[in-house]
Symmetry: C2
Subunit: 92 residues, 2 copies
Amino acid sequence: MYIILVYDIASANGGEKRVGKMLKHCRKYLNWIQNSVFEGEITEVKLKEMLYIARKIMNEETDSIIIFKSRDERWLDKEVIGVERMMTNNFL
Amino acid sequence: MYIILVYDIASANGGEKRVGKMLKHCRKYLNWIQNSVFEGEITEVKLKEMLYIARKIMNEETDSIIIFKSRDERWLDKEVIGVERMMTNNFL
């Protein structure tokens, strides 16, 4: 399964710390393609694991994660305008 | 065509002003679903128009826009974790 993940962490109440943790966490599973946007192939099991931990990092009352799932990456075309960065790296 | 649009505006050099302009601009064409994330049905012509104006708002050396295009919204499942907001509104 191919997914796009976007998170939005509220800046209040230690948000910056959560942003750092979330970034580090998501990069273990997906490619980081923009500030708070990730994409990549992932299994259902790995996705569940990732979200289980993400819920512990985030504040569910102020933060959000949106995931778009596609069975096949070929069903999605991607276009980047402006700065392109970290398109394929996956290191921590 | 169904698209997901995510922008990332650098905070330096008047970034806050660009964020406000970009938000207002994108909401004319798409549904605002998260901080800098939009989705919706759009025609090729409208998308071109939107991007033409977006390029004038953004600083292409520091900012970026990523667009994921799918011919059919049904090819994508969406999951939201945490705060869900502005899922369907489209007003300005």
